[in-house]
C-alpha cells in the first residue's frame, strides 16, 4: 500500500494538469521536427550546394540558374500542366455527376457503388499500376483486344508520346474520381432540402435545380477539391514512374519524376533539392491564386 502510494505521489510530479498537454503532443511534435522540419531545412541548404566527387561546397544560386536554363525542366513543367489542365476538370465533372447520382433516392445499392467508386483511391499502387500495364499493353493488352473487335488498329498506349499522356490521364482519373466523389457527396448532404422544395414549388425541373441550386451551393467544395487536385497533379509521380518511366522521349516526364531521376538516378541531390523548392513555390502560388480568385466572389 505504502509503496504504491509513494509511486503515485512521484508520478503526480511529472503528470500534472499543466504538463499533460505537452506530454500528449510531444510525440507528434518530435516526429514533425524530425521528419518534416529537419528535411525541409536540410534540403534548402542542399539546394545551394554542389557535390563533385564526394566534396560538397556552397554554390549560391547555381542550381537555380541551371534549372531555369534546363529544357527538360520546362518540358516536365509543360507535361505536368497539360495533364493538370485536361485531367482535373474531367475528373471533377465526373465526380460531381457521380455524387449527384449516388445521392439520388432512386438508386439502389448505394453503399455498394460508393465503396466501388472509392476503392481505387485506397488500392495498392503497385497492383493498380500493374493492372493498367496489363490493360494497356500494346501487344497483349485487353483494351487493344477490345478495340480490335470493333476493327480499330492496336494503339501503342504507353509507347506513343501522345497516347502515353492519355494513358496517364485515364489512370489518374480512375484513381481519384471516387475520392473526389465522396467529398462532393458530403457537400451535397449539407445542402438544405428546403431549397429544393422551394424550387420545385416554383416549378423548377431537376436540371434547373442542379444548375441553380446544387452547383452554386457546392462552390466551396469545388474550391477545396480543385486546390487538392492541383497540388496532387503537380506532385504526380507514381503513374509516370511505373507505367511509362517518363517516356517515350520525356513526353510523360513530370516535375516530381524529374526530381527523382536527378536525385536517385544521377545522384545529383543538390539539383533535385532545387527542383523541389521551385515545385513548392509553384504549388504555393497556384493555391493562393485559386483561393484568391474563388474567395473574392464570396
Amino acid at each position: 500500500m505504502n509503496s504504491t502510494a509513494k509511486a503515485e505521489k512521484k508520478k503526480r510530479k511529472f503528470v500534472t494538469p499543466k504538463t499533460a498537454p505537452y506530454i500528449f503532443i510531444a510525440p507528434a511534435v518530435i516526429l514533425f521536427l524530425l521528419f518534416t522540419v529537419y528535411p525541409v531545412i536540410s534540403s534548402l541548404i542542399l539546394s545551394f550546394q554542389t557535390t563533385t566527387g564526394g566534396v560538397t561546397e556552397f554554390a549560391g544560386l547555381d542550381n537555380y540558374r541551371r534549372l531555369f536554363n534546363d529544357p527538360l525542366f520546362y518540358q516536365a513543367l509543360g507535361n505536368t500542366f497539360i495533364i493538370l489542365i485536361i485531367q482535373v476538370p474531367i475528373m471533377l465533372t465526373l465526380a460531381v455527376l457521380l455524387a449527384v447520382l449516388m445521392n439520388s433516392a432512386l438508386l439502389r445499392m448505394r453503399g455498394f457503388f460508393r465503396v466501388a467508386f472509392f476503392m481505387p483511391a485506397i488500392t495498392a499502387l503497385v497492383a493498380y499500376a500493374i493492372v493498367f500495364m496489363i490493360l494497356l499493353d500494346e501487344n497483349y493488352g485487353i483494351v487493344n483486344y477490345a478495340l480490335s473487335l470493333v476493327g480499330i488498329d492496336p494503339i501503342a498506349w504507353l509507347n506513343d508520346p501522345f497516347w502515353a499522356k492519355v494513358s496517364l490521364i485515364i489512370a489518374v482519373t480512375w484513381r481519384w474520381t471516387g475520392y473526389n466523389m465522396v467529398i462532393f457527396l458530403a457537400g451535397l448532404q449539407g445542402i438544405s432540402k428546403d431549397l429544393y422544395e422551394a424550387a420545385s414549388i416554383d416549378g423548377a425541373g431537376k436540371i434547373r435545380q442542379f444548375f441553380s441550386i446544387t452547383l452554386p451551393q457546392l462552390k466551396p467544395i469545388f474550391l477545396f477539391t480543385f486546390v487538392l487536385s492541383t497540388i496532387g497533379t503537380l506532385q504526380l509521380f507514381d503513374e509516370p514512374f511505373i507505367l511509362t518511366g517518363g517516356g517515350p522521349n520525356n513526353s510523360t516526364l513530370t516535375i516530381s519524376l524529374y526530381l527523382y531521376l536527378n536525385g536517385f538516378r544521377y545522384f545529383d541531390f543538390n539539383y533535385a533539392s532545387a527542383i523541389a523548392y521551385v515545385l513548392v513555390i509553384i504549388i504555393a502560388v497556384l493555391s493562393w491564386l485559386q483561393m484568391k480568385v474563388a474567395g473574392d466572389k464570396e
Partner: protein
C-alpha cells in the same frame, strides 16, 4: 516540469545522434592495408550480410558452403533484394554515410563508376586488402571498370555479359534462313525481312522508349560507347550514328517488336513473336527458365558486324561485388568477395546452375564450357561466349552513365517513334549530357 524537459531533450538528442550517426563511421575508421589479403583460414569470425538479386543472389548463396570450409566462423547472410530496390537503398544508404547498408553489395558493372565517383568514401578500397594480385586473372575490358581514378580496385569483377544473337531454330528453318550466312547487320536485316514474310515473326524485340541495349552493343562492337576512353561524349560519333541508323532501318522494315520492359521481351521471345534476341549470355538462363518446352529450339550466332569483316564481339551487362566502407567486419567481407570472385568453384557452380558467366579467365579452361547444351541445339554455346569475351572492346561507363543511358533511350524513341534523324537525335542527347555533366563532345 523538469522531467518532461529531460525526456524531450533525451529523445531529441537521440534523434540528432541517429541523424548524424551515419557520418561518423564511414571514412577514417576502416583499417587500411591489414595483411595484404592473406588472411589465415579460420581466424575470421562474425556475421556478414550480402545484398544481391535473383539468380546472382542465388549464386552467392551457393558459394556459402565452400566459403565456410575455409572460414567456418563467418556467417554469411545473403539477401535477395530486387535489382532497382537495391540501388535505391544503396544510394540512400551511401548518402547517409553507410547507414543501414549490408557489408557486401552486388553492383552492375555499368553503374559502378557512378557510385564510385559520387561516394568515394562509400566503398572499401580492395587494393589495400591485396586484390591487385588478381589483376591478370580477368579480362582487361572488365578490370578497367573496377578501378577508381587512382587505379585502385573498388569492386571485384564477377560475371561478364558477352553478347550474341539467340535465335529460334524452328522459325529460321520455316523461313529458310541459314544463320551462318548472317555476317553483317545488312545480312541480318535481309534475313529479318525474309523471316517476316515467311512467318508471322518479327526479327527482334526492343523496348524502344526505355532501353537501348541493342544500340549499346552496336557501339561497343565498334569500340565506342556513350563516352570514349578519355571520358568525352561519343554518343553522336559516326559509329554511334551508324548504329542508330541500322536500328532505324530495322524499324522501318517492321522488324522490331516494340515491347514493354523485361517482361515484354521475355514474352515476345517465348511465344515466337520474334525470331531472334541479341542479348548478353545471361539471357540463356532466362530462355531455359521461361520456356523449358522449347528445348533444342534455340541456338546462338555471334552479333553481326556493322561492316564486312568488322568486330562481332560486344558485352552487355555483367556485375561485380563491392564492400561497403562502413562495414564493421571488413576482413570477413573482403574474404568473402575474394573467395567468390577469384576461386573457380563458386564461378562454375554459378555458371552451371544459373548461367552466370564468369569473368575469371582460368575458368574458361573448365570442361563445362565445351559441353554441348541440349537446350541450345546441341551447341557448346558457352565456348562461343568465352571466345567472344576475349574480343570485347573496353567500354568507358563513367560517372555519368545513368544520365547518358536515359538520354540515349530518349534519342532512340525520338528517332524510332517520332521519326527524327538519328544524327539529330543523338546530337541532342550529346548536348544534354554535356550541359549537365560539363564533359566535352567529341567532334
Amino acid at each position: 516540469m523538469k522531467a518532461w524537459k529531460k525526456a524531450l531533450a533525451g529523445t531529441l538528442s537521440l534523434a540528432v545522434l541517429a541523424a548524424c550517426g551515419g557520418n561518423d563511421n564511414n571514412t577514417e575508421e576502416t583499417p587500411a592495408g591489414n595483411d595484404n589479403g592473406d588472411n589465415n583460414g579460420g581466424e575470421l569470425s562474425g556475421e556478414i550480410e550480402v545484398w544481391g538479386w535473383n539468380v546472382a543472389a542465388a549464386s552467392m548463396e551457393l558459394a556459402i558452403e565452400g566459403f565456410n570450409e575455409i572460414h567456418p566462423d563467418v556467417e554469411v547472410n545473403v539477401q535477395d533484394i530486387g535489382r532497382l530496390d537495391l540501388y535505391d537503398r544503396l544510394t540512400v544508404g551511401l548518402a547517409a554515410g553507410g547507414a543501414g547498408l549490408p557489408d557486401v553489395v552486388l553492383v552492375e558493372t555499368d553503374r559502378i563508376d557512378n557510385y564510385m565517383s559520387e561516394f568515394p568514401e562509400g566503398f572499401l578500397n580492395l587494393s589495400e586488402y591485396g586484390f591487385d594480385q588478381y589483376e591478370d586473372k580477368f579480362a582487361q575490358a572488365k578490370i578497367n571498370s573496377m578501378k577508381n581514378a587512382d587505379g585502385d580496385f573498388i569492386a571485384a569483377p564477377w560475371d561478364f555479359g558477352p553478347a550474341a544473337v539467340f535465335y529460334n531454330v524452328e522459325i529460321f528453318e520455316e523461313a529458310g534462313v541459314n544463320p551462318d550466312d548472317i555476317e553483317t547487320y545488312d545480312d541480318y536485316i535481309e534475313a529479318g525481312i525474309q523471316i517476316h514474310e515467311a512467318t508471322e515473326s518479327q526479327l527482334l524485340p526492343i523496348d524502344i522508349s526505355q532501353d537501348d541495349a541493342q544500340f549499346r552493343m552496336m557501339m561497343n562492337q565498334q569500340g565506342t560507347y556513350y563516352f570514349d576512353e578519355d571520358g568525352n561524349i561519343d554518343i553522336a560519333s559516326d559509329e554511334a550514328v551508324l548504329a542508330m541508323e541500322k536500328i532505324k532501318e530495322m524499324r522501318e522494315n517492321d522488324l522490331i517488336a516494340n515491347v514493354d520492359g523485361w517482361d515484354g521481351t521475355v514474352t515476345a521471345t517465348v511465344n515466337g513473336r520474334v525470331a531472334t534476341v541479341p542479348f548478353g549470355v545471361w539471357y540463356a538462363g532466362t530462355i531455359m527458365d521461361q520456356a523449358p518446352e522449347q528445348e533444342g529450339n534455340w541456338d546462338i550466332f555471334p552479333l553481326p558486324a556493322l561492316e564486312e569483316g568488322g568486330n562481332r564481339a560486344a558485352n552487355l551487362g555483367g556485375s561485380d561485388l563491392a564492400v561497403i566502407g562502413a562495414t564493421e567486419n571488413p576482413d570477413a567481407a573482403y574474404a568473402f568477395v575474394e573467395y567468390f570472385t577469384t576461386e573457380t568453384d563458386p564461378q562454375m557452380a554459378a555458371l552451371e546452375e544459373y548461367g552466370m558467366f564468369p569473368s575469371l579467365l582460368e575458368t574458361y579452361e573448365h570442361e563445362t564450357f565445351d559441353e554441348e547444351s541440349e537446350f541450345f541445339n546441341n551447341s557448346a554455346i558457352f565456348r562461343t561466349f568465352a571466345e567472344i569475351s576475349e574480343d570485347v572492346p573496353f567500354a568507358n561507363y563513367t560517372s555519368d552513365y545513368a544520365r547518358a543511358f536515359r538520354y540515349s533511350a530518349d534519342a532512340q524513341a525520338s528517332a524510332l517513334l517520332q521519326d527524327a534523324e538519328p544524327a539529330d537525335a543523338l546530337r541532342e542527347a550529346a548536348e544534354r549530357i554535356a550541359n549537365e555533366s560539363g564533359r566535352d563532345i567529341n567532334e
